[in-house]
């Protein structure tokens, strides 16, 4: 198991928290919560050792927008590919920023 912490400039926090995915083979769990304004943090725990550079590259791209929502993201990974990482973060981001629908994760 390896861990990784990353930080990015961001805009304002989203209105709510969100969850996407499960810690199953080839998948990962994203816990996304509103962060402090102007700053996004990403903490990754992964079952796969030796791929921190790939993780950094993938997350760097996802958080390339300096004005994106300020979020605190926690990822529990069980061997997801970069495409699945992108998908799950996008799903959580969409839930967190969607206009109120009354649902709470």
């Amino acid at each position: 198991m390896q861990t990784l912490s990353l930080e990015y400039p961001a805009g304002d926090p989203p209105p709510r928290r969100a969850l996407a995915g499960v810690v199953g083979s080839g998948d990962l769990e994203v816990l996304l919560e509103p962060g402090s304004a102007g700053r996004s943090t990403v903490a990754v725990r992964t079952s796969v050792d030796g791929v921190n550079e790939i993780w950094t590259a993938v997350i760097d791209r996802i958080f390339a927008d300096d004005n994106g929502p300020a979020v605190a993201v926690e990822i529990n990974d069980f061997g997801a590919t970069p495409a699945v990482v992108r998908l799950r973060i996008a799903q959580a981001m969409e839930q967190a920023t969607r206009q109120s629908d009354g649902a709470t994760p």
């Binding site: 198991m1 499960v22 769990e29 994760p105």
Partner: protein, 286 residues
Amino acid sequence: MNTAELLERESFVELPARARVERLLDAGTRRELVGPFERLSSPWLAKQDIVTQADDGVIIARGTIDGTAVVVAAIEPAFQGGSMGEVGGAKIAGALELAADDAAAGSPVVPVLLLETGGVRLQEANCGLAAIAEIHAAIVALREFVPVVGVITGPVGCFGGMSIAAGLCSHLIVTREARLGLNGPQVIEQEAGIEEFDARDRPMIWSLLGGEQRTATGLVDARVDDDLTAIRAQIAAAVTQEPGPLHRTADIATWEAMLDHIDPAERAEAGDVRAAFARYFGGCHD
């Protein structure tokens, strides 16, 4: 189920556990207890260098099903094979104990257990087993007051101590793909030898442990297809049923009579098992 029906239906098995809970409950009634953001994950897995899931693979939610107050406990089969660790097990046991308090206070809440589990999480050993024992005790106490509904849809199946929990449920619903057994096929093969049980022989495994056989022998109350609407309808009917006069696991005299007449030296085929259950428990039902 023909091809057209297969394409029409919405699969229950393909949904992750949290989505199953959401789809079973009446819209807008779901309230999750000890959710993932409480971060009560396994303290043992991390020490063994294994990535944890924030809810330890168990989702507990209150809500209603067609108006009946329920508490659903769903095990996520994709996380560590649906294994029961200390935290996940305690969440289910705690939910059942709260339901018992509610029943005693006159406001019954019906537990619905989605049991997709390989049994105890080996990495947590006795802590998981202790939680499973608490689940057993809670089911036995609760089923006097309310129906305790178990559901196994597969393909993980329900094994180990949790198969006992399934057996204790007052109403058990399975699919044909589901398997129910104390020991999994590979465990039996490892312990008893390949002549006794060949874990590669899938038709044989399903003929003995599969949903159809378990229904035919009366250990299961309803068999449904993997169809969200059909499964929900079965659960909705089960949660309003009155508890029966004598639960099958309480009928010890009949079990003893049956066991007395079984010769363990003889290899039992699916048909023999059905015949034995029919003789002692009165009639197969398909």
